[in-house]
């Protein structure tokens, strides 16, 4: 009983209703992570990308290919459209006002020539793809019973020369053979007209009539002849995007190579491709020209397949990630030497150019800055009062051939206020310029005040600076960056157990 009585005196010492705070101090040393990545990993994460590739040694390169298809089409040569040729014929009436008691059947024959005009070519033969020939006669000849039109310059699909009494003739499949009487090529098509009519006599002083010969929707399927020099201009813009985000600065790319191929299916038609403008551009930045001189002239030879006309031409580029378009402008000079060759042009003939630019990621960067934001969703988290400081220790192991500098600022978007730097200095990650991994140690001290600001902010502004330290560097898939992150968590003081 005495013991129980004495023990009961101590019961308050085990009454925890008034326990208010926990006091303590200590330090945990914790490994947080050991993360590494290579440029190859980054490329994988970016997904399918036609722009960036790598060679057999794993060296990264920008591989930019595009085609300038059908700079010139044969069909555009051979579509002559609708042409109308009119001819007015007059001859004297020897007996004005005399009318024959019985009309006399008679025929009037004449020739009408039309010239298939071509500034740049002298045609010899041509196969008509589409054409409707229409003929009309108006005049005072009286009762016209029949009109015969024939031409030895036009061979119908059945092999006969043109002969028709119809006012409308489908010439599809027919062909022109344009030679003069001496067998020399000319551009004239001669039509022979025979007009059968009944002569009755008229009051007029002369007989007159007008023939209109229309060649509607004349398209040639094939044309042979002699082509003179002519010039075709082109100006092509192609947009693209570089998957490098918000980077500010120029990459001076070294050792870029350009290959150009062409396909010219104009038989025997040689050309020169003169590039007057080839440049990257975008935004308000000054364009970056691709070739070091203009015009950049390439000879285009006839070929049904693509053939190389420029092989690994070295160009120097200063590429800014803000560039989002490339422009090529110039002209194609056909038969630049005005050679008098017999040329056959089909409506399927085209001239196309394929440009293949391989730009090794070999560059020097005097200073490029990548700026991005990182959203934070820490609103539900409160700063534990016992945690006094968290020191994050980072050991970077870099094989990247450039130096990095990192700044992190805490940003409160609701007020637009920058609450300060998460790191009180610019963190540096030294690059490797000789292939040997370089270690850099850095640390971030997050005090309780800083932690409160971090929780108050909702965004981190990250500025990553890149420079190659004056070196020309070449990026490789295997270039990696590893970071070992550890933390010293220092805690101490009082923590209210009721909150």
């Amino acid at each position: 009983m005495v013991a129980i009585l004495m023990l009961s005196c101590n019961k308050n010492r085990f009454d925890f209703d008034n326990l208010e705070t926990v006091e303590g101090s200590g330090q945990w040393k914790l490994p947080i992570g050991n993360v590494s990545t290579t440029l190859g990993d980054v490329l994988k994460q970016l997904g399918e990308n036609d722009l960036i590739s790598y060679d057999e040694d794993g060296n990264l390169q920008i591989h930019y290919s595009f085609k300038l298809n059908d700079i010139l089409k044969g069909s555009s040569f051979l579509s002559l459209g609708t042409m109308n040729f009119s001819s007015e014929i007059r001859f004297a009436n020897p007996f004005p006002g005399y009318h024959l008691p019985d009309p006399i059947d008679t025929v009037y024959r004449f020739q009408q020539s039309i010239e298939l005009d071509a500034d740049s070519a002298v045609l010899e033969t041509a196969v008509i793809k589409t054409c409707t020939m229409l003929s009309t006669i108006q005049g005072n000849l009286g009762n016209v019973s029949r009109v015969e039109i024939s031409s030895s310059d036009i061979t119908m699909p059945n092999g006969d020369s043109l002969f028709t009494t119809q006012s409308e003739v489908d010439l599809a499949g027919a062909s022109f053979h344009l030679y003069d009487d001496f067998g020399n090529p000319d551009t004239v098509v001669v039509f022979n007209y025979a007009i059968y009519y009944q002569l009755e006599g008229i009051d007029d002083e002369e007989y007159h009539f007008e023939t209109i010969l229309g060649m509607n929707n004349l398209k040639l399927q094939q044309l042979s002849g002699h082509v003179n020099q002519f010039v075709y201009e082109f100006d092509i813009d192609t947009t693209f995007s570089l998957p490098l985000g918000n980077i500010d600065g120029n990459l001076n790319l070294v050792g870029a190579k350009v290959n150009v191929k062409e396909r010219n299916s104009f038989e025997n038609l040689y050309a020169q491709l003169s590039i007057n403008t080839a440049e990257f551009y975008g935004g308000s930045l000054a364009p970056s020209t691709i070739f070091d001189h203009y015009p950049f002239v390439l000879n285009v030879v006839p070929s049904y397949d693509y053939v190389s006309i420029l092989d690994n031409e070295t160009v120097n580029l200063s590429l800014n990630p803000k560039y989002d378009a490339v422009r090529f402008a110039g002209l194609v000079d056909f038969n630049p030497n005005a050679v008098d060759n017999l040329v056959t042009i089909y409506d399927t003939s085209t001239l196309s150019v394929a440009i293949d630019a391989i730009i090794p990621m070999q560059f020097n960067v005097p200073g490029v800055t990548y700026i991005d934001t990182i959203s934070l969703n820490l609103g539900e988290i409160s700063a534990p009062s016992l945690v006094k400081e968290i020191i994050l220790g980072m050991m970077f192991e870099s094989e990247l051939p450039f130096n990095l500098s990192v700044q992190l600022d805490m940003y409160k978007s609701t007020t637009g206020e920058i609450l300060g730097g998460l790191v009180d200095h610019e963190m540096l990650v030294n690059g490797s310029f000789d292939g040997t991994p370089v270690l850099t140690n850095e640390s971030i001290s997050i005090t309780q005040d800083l932690l409160k600001k971090l929780l108050e902010s909702d965004m981190l502004i990250m500025r990553v600076g890149v420079n190659t330290g004056g070196n020309d560097v070449l990026l490789n898939l295997d270039n990696g960056l590893g970071v070992t992150l550890k933390a010293d968590v220092l805690y101490g003081g009082s923590m209210d157990v009721n909150n």
Binding site: V2, A3, M6, L7, C9, N10, N12, R13, F14, D15, F16, D17, N18, L19, E20, T21, V22, E23, G24, S25, G26, Q27, W28, K29, L30, P31, I32, G33, N34, V35, S36, T37, G393, T484, L485, K486, A487, D488, V489, Y491, S494, V497
Partner: protein, 480 residues
Amino acid sequence: MKHIRIFATLVFMAVLSSASVAQIVSPVDFMRYNPRSVNANPAFYTSDFGYFDLMLGGYTVGVQNIGLKYDKFFRFNNAGQPTVLDLDNGVASLRDKNYINTFVNVDVFNCGRRTKHGYFSYSHRFREVESMTFNKDLVKLLANGNSAFLGEANPADIRVNVSARMIQEFNFGYQMSLTDQWNIGLRLKFLMGFMDVKTNALNAQLYTDPETYALKLMSAADVRATLPYEFVMEDGKMKIVDRRFNPATLFKNYGFGVDLGAEYKINDQWGVAAALNDLGFIKWNNHSVNFVGEINDGGSYYDNGAFVFTGLTNEQVHAMMEDEHFAQNLMDSLTSYFSLTPQTLAGYTTGLYSNMMVRGYYDLTPEHRFSAQFMGYNVGMGMKPAMTLAYTGSFKEQYDVVATYTMMPGSFDNLGIGLSANFGGLLMYVATNNIFGFFNPANRSHLHAQFGISFTSGEKVSRAETIVIRDQEMEAESED
């Protein structure tokens, strides 16, 4: 998880349960007119002709707490209520090795009677003993972090031992005075174990690399237990069939033990005594199980038997950013490194928690005795020493007044007191080995109480008178 719950339950039971004949020092051990003194040494002389008791004969409860000082962990208001948990102060107050023992002893039935040549006694009692030891690293790591444990040679070395046992004891004792100088005693014990939990290994070592902070955890768990419940193994999992108490389980797991004692009276003032108690064993073979915990090869964090955490990997960092179930998945993967597997045991044998004592005494007068005693006692965690100085005042063949002072490692404030009185055959006694324990129990190394009521019969006979009577009887027999 189920195994871990069962395992934790066993440990919890062990911590809460208490055990056995408190083989730590009690003032009762020094009483001269209380037959309970023979618990310390079966050779001690009992002056009563006979005694018996039923259910009230002896109750002993005790807590031995070496290292954990409650008041060091808390600060209190004027009303004495804790208001601040002071982890730094508490951790600083811990010893490198701390232990908490609890024990309970309940005598069901005791009796004894003088015979022609000695003294026969019989007891039936329940005994529980529990002991838990833990080193300072466990609490220091949790409270202060791992910064104090850096390097391969300086791990946080966490070692926990838990032992708990509940048994019944039926003992038969016989004490005999060989001469007027020599007493010897023997007590045979038949034991029945009810429950047993014993950690063969429960430890972990956490290494922290001072440069990378990589954490390497090595651990081992090997716990044997005998449960009062029937269980079955299904697909490697342990399932308890029936949690209801079955009285039949009180009569399983047999064991035997013996206490040996001797006393030598050098002269009228000086004497010495020695005893070896609880030499024996128990065979645990009813519902026995062995929990084995180990670190498995669960993946990249496994290294030669250890769990090595060097930080999140690339894949985990990506998963953390992309997988909303990352935390749960990570926990699931981490748990695969650790297993706690129950294995049915056909049986195992444990030794009793033995103790030994050596005592010397000096009788200033027949009423006043001064003793010095060395005791080595074991509550499951190895032999621990206890040095006791005692005064026993014995008056009118009725009263014992005992004062003790006991020193043990880490415990030097044990001032005990015991009173025993016999009123016409009604013997009542009460004792504690640390009177201060009742005033501030949470901060004392001992809290102990022992009390009981017995009935004695016959006149008191001193040892010298016993020898004379016996000699006379033997002489008469020879004449016949």
